[in-house]
Every structure is written in structure tokens, then in C-alpha cells.
């Protein structure tokens, strides 16, 4: 289980996260919902050790990953699909995936399992990542993270700007990854996505978790979520 215990973080003097607490269990999708600038992306960077914590700690199955240097965090079993994908654009699809495999020394079977979710990537192995379509790039970003065979998967707006058919493919892959037992922390802005994927929803505002709700309750009455996201 991934736990964030009262973390504070920010950029230089600008405090973004304040006493933020949440946990994600294996086999569930926890959705972080909040307006632009609420601190969702910063939460993910804090988990990856890419922004320093000013308070609190982060543990994975009891191990304090917030005390590790950033490059050791993925080795603890955390795969990251960042906002905007951030592939190694000049490298080929195969090289991007190789970097994912090297992160934890995963066996090739892990790559096969990831590619089974996105068979289109198999035809693109020699192509530079930056020449892929937006949807394919998102698939690659997700496959790259799945190459770590992660116990925790962080997904930051994975369907932003994609066409409906692509969105469906990505969502199916997210569900499949949950079924394999990963703990998934998902940032989503679209209400339909939140309602169709999430097991629980953490409402985040001004760097704090206001409330955590069961998805069932929200599905019956999603006005609370609409109000929170400001739509």
C-alpha cells in the first residue's frame, strides 16, 4: 500500500502541498480530482522524489520511499506516466521501452505483457517516439511505465487530448492493470472518466485532500464532483 502522510512540498518558496494525506491500496484505482493548479501533478512528483518534501513522509508497504534518492524510487516498484507523456522523443519506441525494463531489471516477459495491452506498438518499435501519433505516444508512455512491472502506477491525465477510440484503449489498459493487482493513482479531470474508472475519489484543493469518497456514492449523485471540478 502506498501512503502519503501529511506531506508538504512546493517549488522553492512557493508551498503547493500542505499536509496532504492519502493512501492507495493494491488492486484499486484512487482518483485525484481537483481543479487546475490544485497540486495533483505536484503530488505525483513528490511521490517520485522529483520535488523535495518539506513535511511528512511517503511509504510503500512500510518502506519510507521519501527517504530514497529519486532514482531509487522507481526501483521500489513505482511506474510513472507523467502529464504530457514526456517520452524520450529522439529515442525509438524500443529504446524507450528498454529504459523502462532497465529501471528494475525486469524480464522480457514483462515487456510482452505490456505490449499485449498495446499491440500497435509492436509495429512501431524502430520509430522515434516523437513521430508517433498522440494516442500512440500515450500508449508508449504507459507501456514504458508498465515495463517496471509496477506495484504502484501513477497516471497523470492519461487521456488528455486524445480521440475517443484511443481513450477507450487507455481505459481498458488501466482496468487490466488494476486487475493484475497494481495500486493505481489516477489524475483525471473528466467526470465520465472518474466515474467509469475510480474505486475511490480524493477531492483535492489548495494542496490538501478535502474528502475521500467511495465511487458508488458519487455515481448515485455526482453533483458534489461537478461542483468540485467547477463544471
Amino acid at each position: 500500500m502506498l501512503r502519503l502522510e501529511g506531506i508538504g512540498a512546493g517549488y522553492g518558496a512557493a508551498q503547493v502541498l500542505r499536509d496532504l494525506t492519502l493512501k492507495v491500496r493494491p488492486g484499486e484505482i484512487l482518483c485525484l480530482a481537483g481543479r487546475n493548479g490544485a497540486g495533483k501533478t505536484t503530488t505525483m512528483k513528490a511521490i517520485m522524489g522529483l520535488v523535495p518534501l518539506s513535511a511528512g513522509r511517503i511509504t510503500l508497504d512500510g518502506v519510507a520511499i521519501s527517504e530514497l534518492p529519486a532514482h531509487r524510487v522507481p526501483k521500489a516498484g513505482i511506474g510513472y506516466v507523467p502529464q504530457g507523456r514526456r517520452l524520450f522523443g529522439e529515442l525509438t519506441v524500443a529504446q524507450n521501452l528498454e529504459i523502462g525494463l532497465m529501471a528494475r531489471g525486469s524480464p522480457l516477459a514483462v515487456l510482452d505483457a505490456a505490449l499485449d495491452l498495446f499491440p500497435r506498438l509492436r509495429e512501431r518499435m524502430g520509430q522515434r517516439a516523437q513521430t508517433l501519433s498522440g494516442g500512440e505516444q500515450q500508449m508508449l508512455a504507459m507501456a514504458r511505465a508498465l515495463c517496471l512491472d509496477p506495484a504502484v502506477l501513477l497516471l497523470d491525465e492519461p487521456t488528455e487530448g486524445l480521440q475517443p477510440t484511443m481513450i477507450e484503449a487507455i481505459r481498458a489498459a488501466i482496468r487490466e492493470t488494476r486487475a493484475r493487482g497494481a495500486a493505481i493513482l489516477l489524475v483525471e479531470q473528466r467526470i465520465d472518466a472518474v466515474l467509469s474508472l475510480a474505486d475511490r475519489i480524493a477531492l483535492i484543493e489548495n494542496g490538501r485532500v478535502l474528502d475521500t469518497l467511495e465511487a458508488e456514492a458519487l455515481r448515485r449523485d455526482h453533483r458534489r464532483l461537478e461542483r468540485h471540478l467547477g463544471v
Binding site: L50, P74, R86, L91, M102
Partner: protein, 308 residues
């Protein structure tokens, strides 16, 4: 000598300059590309390579080839280790902040220069080349409409100069292979493309930085070992290679290895040719002018990618 043979001679001299410059500039370009560090002390790593070559060859004695072969290995290795240590103790501490790294490497420049002056002294000292056969070059003239092979006086080179060109080409090919074909090269390129994502995928960026800084300095030192039998070792010899490397890296496009290579050949050859026919000063003036033009009309360099 006539114009034709004279041009061949100038081109050969230029090719030697280009070979050594390409090695030095690729080192600078690698460091800038991967680490975004402008290493003002790069020329001093070059100088240290030459000074260490003198030191190793005079320590070993014996036939020149033996000492020189040892210098080829020892000097780049020691300089690379020194640079990696400087990276870990100085640059890492200031978090690779662009402005502070410039100030820090200026400081490093003076420390290396003055320590060399205090220990090695102010003399220029020669290193004997491992081999140095004179090779005459034939020329074709037309006498009464028929081609005739002649050997103009003064048209020639040495086996050592040709070996410098060959060795530089081989090392550059090796660097290229490492960067594009090896696992460590892949990690370096990933770090260059996106440092945070490299960290998020388990790449030990700090170790990559120390390695790249050491490798960049070692390439400069290797270039110096190759040229020192032609030009002597002196504690102030780092200035020209630094200036020319910056010119090459800017013209070629910051961080682009192919661009750096092409620009080094361009600048090296024209430096050789203009120096022979006019003056070395004019060669430097023209190169600097070219940099100004590139900065105005194509700031990303000939091969650089336009910043997004």
C-alpha cells in the same frame, strides 16, 4: 612553391588541427549537451593532458614510443578522474545551476593553471613523437601537354601527423558507437533529453554526470597528448583550444555531436589554410566573425534543433 602544392600542404596542416579540435570540441559538446554545463575549464583539461604527457614520457624514458603509449593511456585517465572528482565535489554541490557552474569552472581554470605553473613551471617542453618519418608528396604538372610527376621541395608531411588524424577519427567513431549503440550511451542520451524522466526511470543521473564530465575532460586530454609532439606542453596552452571549441560548438549547434564534428572540420581546415596563406590571427578573426553570423542568423547552430 606554387599555389597547388601550397594548398595541399595547408590542407594537411588544417586536417591535423581539425582532428585535434574535433576531439576537444566533442568533449565540450558532450558535457554541455548532457549536463547543460558550460565548462570554462575545458581548455585546462587539455593543457593538463599535454603536461601529463610530458611528465609520463620523461618519467618512463626509454624509446619514445613506449613513453608515448603510456601517456596516451595515463594522461586522459588521470584528467578524467580529476574532472569527475571536480564534478562530484563542486558542480554537484551548486546543483548544476547554469550561472554558478560558469563561475565555478572559471575558478577551476585558474586553480589548474596556477598549480601547473607552480609545479611544472613556465617553460614550454617538447615531447618526442613515437615515430616521425618524413613523407614527400608528389605533384602533377603538365610539361608540353603531358602530365609529369614531380616532388616539389617542401611538399610533404610526417607519418606522425597522419597518425594523429587517423587516431582522432578512430576515437570519434568510438564515441559515436558508444553514444548510439551501447547501454551506457542510451542512459546518457535519456539523461540529456529529460533529466527528471531519467530519474523517474531509475537512471542514476548524478553518476551519469560524473561520467560525462570525466569523459569530456578525457577527450580534451587525449587530443592534447596527440598534439603535444607537434606543439609542446605549456601551462598557458589551454586558451586557444577553449576558444576554438566554443566556436565549433556554437557553429555546430549546442549539444549536437554530428554538428560539432562538421564544424570542427570546417574551422580546423580553414584555420590551417588561412594561417598558411595569410596569418593565424586572420584565421581567428574570421572564425569569430562566423560565430557572430551564426548567432545572428541561426542561433541554434547549423545542426542544432530550434528550441521548442
Amino acid at each position: 612553391m606554387e599555389f597547388g602544392p601550397h594548398l595541399v600542404l595547408a590542407t594537411l596542416e588544417g586536417a591535423v588541427t581539425a582532428a585535434v579540435l574535433a576531439l576537444t570540441a566533442v568533449g565540450l559538446s558532450l558535457v554541455f549537451g548532457v549536463m547543460r554545463v558550460v565548462n570554462v575549464a575545458h581548455g585546462e583539461f587539455f593543457m593538463l593532458g599535454a603536461v601529463l604527457a610530458w611528465w609520463v614520457t620523461s618519467l618512463i624514458g626509454g624509446p619514445p614510443a613506449l613513453g608515448f603509449a603510456a601517456a596516451l593511456v595515463v594522461a586522459p585517465l588521470l584528467v578524467g578522474l580529476l574532472a569527475a572528482a571536480a564534478d562530484m565535489t563542486v558542480l554537484k554541490r551548486i546543483d548544476y545551476d547554469p550561472e554558478r557552474t560558469i563561475v565555478a569552472t572559471i575558478g577551476l581554470l585558474y586553480i589548474l593553471q596556477q598549480v601547473t605553473l607552480m609545479t611544472y613551471g613556465a617553460d614550454a617542453r617538447p615531447v618526442e613523437p613515437p615515430f616521425n618519418t618524413r613523407l614527400a608528396i608528389p605533384w602533377v604538372t603538365f610539361a608540353e601537354g603531358r602530365p609529369q610527376l614531380i616532388w616539389p621541395w617542401g611538399l610533404g608531411t610526417t607519418s606522425y601527423k597522419l597518425a594523429v588524424i587517423g587516431a582522432a577519427a578512430a576515437v570519434l567513431a568510438g564515441v559515436w558507437l558508444v553514444m548510439t549503440r551501447s547501454r551506457i550511451g542510451l542512459l546518457m542520451r535519456a539523461t540529456q533529453l529529460d533529466r527528471d524522466m531519467a530519474l523517474a526511470f531509475g537512471i542514476p543521473v548524478e553518476r551519469i554526470y560524473a561520467l560525462v564530465f570525466g569523459l569530456g575532460a578525457a577527450l580534451a586530454a587525449l587530443a592534447a597528448v596527440l598534439i603535444v609532439p607537434i606543439s609542446q606542453a605549456h601551462y598557458l596552452m589551454g586558451g586557444d583550444p577553449l576558444l576554438l571549441s566554443f566556436i565549433v560548438v556554437i557553429i555546430g549547434g549546442l549539444g549536437s555531436l554530428p554538428g560539432t564534428l562538421v564544424a570542427a572540420i570546417l574551422i580546423g581546415l580553414s584555420d590551417g589554410i588561412i594561417s598558411v596563406f595569410f596569418s593565424p590571427t586572420l584565421a581567428k578573426i574570421l572564425a569569430t566573425l562566423l560565430v557572430a553570423l551564426v548567432l545572428v542568423f541561426r542561433p541554434q547552430g547549423l545542426f542544432g534543433l530550434r528550441a521548442a
